[in-house]
């Protein structure tokens, strides 16, 4: 009974996600067809939800706040964009803009092979692991944590943004990359493609959700919570926390990278703006609003904030920042566990160990 109660919400959410993923293609052609705009929006929201899960994994369950997750998101996005451009170039002969205005005759050498997706995917994973591994290892070893880790990751993503703004890096500079026309040999932008991408993103979301649920429910997950709540005690007990933190950190980075891969074909552009410190901060805001330390919360937070943002940025552009800032203050002051507190209100007792209700993973280093 207990186990079902624990897994209930996540199973239901996953079921719902899969249902939508199946329903969208199934309904196409009928009178209930989901419009292309809505399908595309759902797909983007799914990508954001995956991103939120990745941050929740280390912030909510390990107590490490990264304000630089946009970096890994961008790695996935850029690599996928490179694949798309190279692939489009091979199939249709479209020469990317940035080659033209930089006056280059050919792709830079490091673009070789990117028209082959498995290779591109491997590169993305390796680069993500390399960046997150080195940075994580050095940081965790010298016990950089808490707000220091947050600011340093923010500076890191900012540095990456400045670098990518440069046109001579060969990644499109400030313009970024756009003009994708073919994906896996199919024409992009058609209704079918949009629906397929959205359904695929939802499926990946469901998969990531289940994977993370399994992880945090395992013995390993218990160690994560223990590290979050009292790392020193755990070390005294003989556990090696450095490796644990590093593994989760790298895993989280890879998930963020996958989110980036889902995002790019649906939005049709990648540029250094995804590396802006504001975006990385916003990820933390989604998670905080949804509820840290709850995978369901992270997903709902990302969906809710972004859906409202999509809607308001055309319906009432002026009030969106006020609503967002008000929402954050409200969450921070009144609902420390985000929307999960709302659910808790009339229902059962707070969840988890006592410390979790207080504050998650914010013991000062």
């Amino acid at each position: 009974m207990m186990r079902l109660g624990r897994n209930g919400p996540i199973v239901l959410l996953t079921g719902l996600i899969l249902l939508v993923a199946v329903a969208m293609p199934a309904l196409s052609g009928t009178s209930l067809e989901v419009s292309r705009y809505l399908a595309n929006a759902i797909g983007q929201l799914a990508a954001f939800a995956v991103l939120a899960i990745s941050l929740d994994l280390i912030w909510g369950y390990l107590g490490i706040l990264s304000l630089g997750h946009g970096l890994f998101f961008a790695i996935g996005g850029y690599v996928f964009a490179m694949y798309l451009l190279k692939h489009s170039f091979v199939v249709t002969g479209t020469v990317p803009d940035f080659l033209q205005f930089m006056g280059w005759k050919d792709f830079p050498f490091y673009w070789a092979g990117f028209d082959f997706f498995p290779y591109a995917f491997t590169v993305a994973v390796l680069v993500t692991l390399l960046v997150s591994g080195i940075f994580g290892y050095v940081s965790f070893r010298s016990r950089v944590g808490g707000v220091y880790f947050a600011i340093i990751t923010q500076a890191l993503v900012y540095v990456a943004m400045l670098l990518m703004f440069r046109n001579d890096t060969g990644f499109g500079g400030n313009n970024g990359m756009t003009g994708f026309s073919v994906l896996f040999g199919w024409q992009m932008g058609t209704s079918g493609m949009i629906t397929a991408l959205a359904a695929g993103s939802l499926a990946v979301l469901a998969l990531v959700l289940m994977l993370c649920r399994w992880l945090v429910g395992s013995r390993f997950g218990a160690l994560m919570l223990a590290t979050r709540d009292d790392e020193i005690r755990l070390q005294t007990l003989g556990y090696e926390t450095l490796r644990l933190k590093l593994i989760v950190w790298c895993l989280s980075a890879v998930i963020a990278m996958v989110a980036g891969m889902l995002y790019v074909p649906q939005v049709g552009i990648i540029n250094p703006r995804v590396l802006s410190p504001e975006l990385s901060l916003e990820i933390a805001v989604w998670v905080a609003i949804g509820g840290r330390g709850h995978l369901v919360g992270a997903v709902i937070g990302a969906l809710l904030v972004n859906a409202v943002k999509f809607w308001l940025s055309s319906a009432a552009p002026d009030i969106w920042p006020f609503i967002l800032s008000g929402l954050i203050v409200l969450v921070v002051l009144v609902f420390p566990n985000g929307l999960m507190d709302l659910a808790k209100f009339r229902l059962t007792r707070p969840m988890g160990p006592k410390r979790m209700a207080e504050e998650i993973g914010e013991a000062r280093p």
Binding site: R6, R36, Q100, G173, I269
Partner: protein, 417 residues
């Protein structure tokens, strides 16, 4: 350990479902029902927040003003115009998002938008996919000709090159050396690439120019102005600065330039993106003589401009617009022209369908506030405009130093790239 009941989940899930479904789907459903009658919709893609807000924000109001003018005369094809405004917040992917929303959900007949080339490039795939129509009111780097975009302002071959020619000529300053300083993105890079090609074609040696780029929003120009002085003092002929930085970098650069005691008579600056609004916070007494070049300047002569300025001042006052009623810049006029050009094409076509409207472009003419009769041909989606070279005066404005005799034929693809 998370303890959840079925009900708590349903609540949370309900919130999510509401978030997903209602804001997105409902308005669309309701709106698409009325799309066939009622007012025809136009969409604006100009940011009212973020770094571009000060410049782009005012264009929203100009589009509305132009639509009001047309509505006052009975609208187009018997329908009035309704202008929808979004806020892409100077965030490039959001431009694409807003464009999608406007085209797919709101079914707008035409879009008016974008300032930076980045934002245009972002929106471009969307309008092409949806077969929409985007009116782009800025001068830009050229080398693009989409059937779904109307390039209302001039490509470099018909705006920048005449200005540089003027500087190099006897009547100008016989410029021999060029310091090209730009923000690091496509527009400055392409302009400078074309200029270098142009210089080469004129037999100017490579040692006579220098290129520098700064990031967006850069403001600490101390070292760069030092470099410009060093470049100028090397001798070898009259130096000029060709400035393609954008946004707030422009006033910050000009301030530092004047503070280091450099006058326009020593090293003139040709600010390709410099408009009256950039001088708003500056003491221009020390900047007198620096140049810009556009297809419209506020001091343009003629009744069309007088009427435009009067309308704008009145509109600002009546609608409590948060921008100056006494400042009028080229992109405002271009946005104004855009709405009228669209309305004329739609009326000529007798339809709001993009293919029909596009077919009606050939032969359109409009009395632009600049005093020129601007026109379109069927060859491409460019608009033939006049060229002005302005000279900064001590009243934070530009005097007209030179203007073209007529409207040169726009050349979309530069021969010097």
């Amino acid at each position: 350990m998370v303890k959840f009941t079925r009900r708590s989940f349903l609540q949370a899930g309900g919130v999510a479902a509401a978030g997903l479904a209602s804001p997105l789907a409902m308005p669309a459903y309701l709106r698409s029902a009325q799309a066939q009658s009622g007012p025809v919709k136009l969409g604006c893609l100009f940011s009212s927040s973020g770094t571009m807000a000060n410049l782009e924000g005012r264009l929203n109001y100009v589009v509305k003003m132009a639509a009001d003018e047309i509505n006052a005369k009975g609208g187009v094809n018997g329908r009035t115009i309704d202008v929808l405004v979004s806020d892409p917040a100077s965030d490039w992917p959001l431009y694409a998002q807003s464009a999608k929303q406007m085209l797919q959900q709101e079914k707008v007949s035409a879009l008016f938008g974008c300032w930076t080339s980045v934002s245009r490039k972002t929106v471009l795939p969307v309008v092409e996919q949806e077969n929409g129509l985007l009116y782009y009111p800025l001068h830009f780097e050229g080398d693009e000709n989409s059937k779904n975009v109307v390039y209302v302002n001039s490509p470099p071959a018909s705006s920048v090159l005449p200005a540089v020619d003027y500087l190099m000529g006897e009547e100008g300053v016989s410029a021999k050396r060029f310091f090209m300083l730009g923000s690091d993105y496509v527009w400055p890079r392409t302009i400078n690439k074309q200029l270098k090609g142009y210089f080469k074609s004129k037999g100017i040696p490579e040692t006579a120019w220098k290129e520098e780029y700064v990031p967006f929003g850069f403001s600490n120009f101390q070292t760069l102005v030092n470099q410009i002085r060093a470049f100028a003092d090397q001798g070898g002929g009259q130096p000029v600065v060709i400035l393609t930085v954008v946004g707030n970098s422009i006033p910050d650069f000009m301030r530092e330039f004047a503070n280091q005691g450099i006058l326009a008579t020593d090293i003139p600056v040709l600010g390709l993106d410099m408009v009256e609004a950039d001088l708003e916070g500056l003491d221009t007494a020390k900047l007198v003589g620096h140049l810009n070049c556009w297809a419209y300047l506020q001091n343009a002569k003629g009744p069309a401009n007088e009427a435009f300025l009067k309308n704008w001042a009145g509109y600002v006052k009546a609608k409590n617009v948060p921008f100056s009623g006494t400042v009028s810049i080229d992109p405002m006029v271009s946005a104004y022209d855009s709405v009228h050009l669209w309305a004329m094409a739609a009326a000529k076509a007798g339809s709001f369908d993009v293919p029909e409207v596009s077919k009606a472009f050939a032969g359109l003419t409009f009395d632009c506030p600049s005093g020129y009769k601007i026109s379109m041909t069927g060859e491409n989606n460019y608009v033939a405009r006049g060229v002005f070279i302005g000279s900064v005066n001590d009243k934070q404005g530009f005097d007209i130093l030179w203007q073209s005799k007529d409207t040169p034929k726009p050349v979309p693809f530069s021969p010097y790239g």
